[in-house]
Symmetry: D2
Subunit: 147 residues, 4 copies
């Protein structure tokens, strides 16, 4: 996972303030919120691809097939978390992998790293699909041509 990467290596980056209510009875941010933070960075990444320029009906939508998070240090209110999202691999036209880095603004330390597998899904036929060439090209460009 993304433990040895720096935020600068993630094309999509967002900052989200920790809310008091994000904490659970242990007075730390609850684990489910980390997945919400990663989801938010993933949505930002998709926006950067500017898919909306494509024919909307033709685009298969990315769905979350698998997600994981390694919790390195606790987060607590007050603070904000900076979340980076990058595509780490395109396994096939049907499926890609992403990495996430979560950094505390207060401590500047990595609090978690995440990983996700994302599949193309056609909501009209309700079945797995392929990412259009244009989408894969946009990802490749966003990642600096390394895909």
């Amino acid at each position: 996972m993304a433990e040895h990467l720096k935020l600068e290596q993630f094309p999509a980056r967002i900052e989200i303030p920790i809310l008091w209510g994000d904490m659970d009875a242990f007075r730390h941010v609850n684990n489910t919120r980390f997945f919400r933070y990663m989801e938010s960075a993933r949505v930002k990444y998709i926006e950067l691809l500017d898919l909306f320029g494509l024919d909307k009906d033709a685009v298969s939508w990315p769905i979350l097939a698998e997600a994981s998070c390694k919790f390195i240090a606790p987060l607590a209110y007050p603070d904000s978390v900076i979340v980076g999202c990058r595509t780490s691999a395109i396994r096939s036209p049907e499926e890609l992998e992403q990495e996430y880095l979560l950094v505390s603004s207060a401590s500047n330390l990595t609090v978690a790293v995440g990983w996700a597998r994302i599949a193309a899904y056609d909501f009209s036929s309700l079945r797995k699909s392929r990412f259009p060439e244009k989408v894969l090209a946009a990802i490749n460009e966003l990642e600096g041509g390394d895909m």
Copy 2:
């Protein structure tokens, strides 16, 4: 992960009704809720260990070190999800691994499987710790002596 197991193989099992508000803008249960469902089964598992009979101050508390989920089929309201939790490995006195199975009550199909790494943590010294022998023995007994 737990894809080929049956609910009967999980010592802790809970049923949670899907709430309409658990769904996101895609009209499926949001991925973060799956982690809430697994957390709830994990808490149930801990209750089954009856740790509260132990000296409360001496017990290191289990914290979530890593969590993952493989999403197999969408969940939607109205339905309920049955979540099973089992300990699949005790790697060391500091750390154990769990598996989760999530089954839709409506379809009787597996909608997700999960995995977690759980570490012992001493909240008084704020550092990693060891699970007491009594806890590991209780886990072993709960799992049918297979640990």
Copy 3:
């Protein structure tokens, strides 16, 4: 509000288990969850009206215009909450009012009462609308003809 009513007076009733993660840093169920519980009872109420038998395109959808909750006693895990929902007034064909009663299963005590104003909304024209006669008749029947 509904403090002096009994659950039996609410046509829609649901039971929702409290999850450990519903609690906040004060180790009580967080206030926002009470609104989720009431939303869930409201959805159940709408299902009882069997609106889906109506022409779907013609039905104005009910939206939440105002909501309030009076917190009477704390809720905590483990417990479950029984939530009742009733329509207390039809102010006009555009708007109705509901009351909610939240009872702890463990204590059998009322932990909160709520109130909501619900407006008809036409998602096609994006403006306030009227509840169809059939809907108001179904509500009246569900409430025992008291509307």
Copy 4:
């Protein structure tokens, strides 16, 4: 409620980005999130009182006794919400009232107004209590001496 006030009249103000996952199946921010936004502004308000300078054990903690929200316009991702919190009345040393204003950053329009009744609570004796004089004085000062 606070509909005719301006953000400048609220001593505590925070800006919270809308996350994609804050939306529900209607593709608008779910009502429960509005209560989370108001809670976050309330916590900010308490911080402004600098209560932590008081003897911690002597301070009765403010708890939410009643909360309401009037939903004026829908919120959706992407946007951020600016939330103002003010104390509108000190009914007695046991209880005060607050108002909230929620403004969309994108439209600069008021999307909701809220109201809350907050009671002093002594967590050691588990009963209602009184706000210390110093706290009421701090609130009065924060509100420009109008209380």
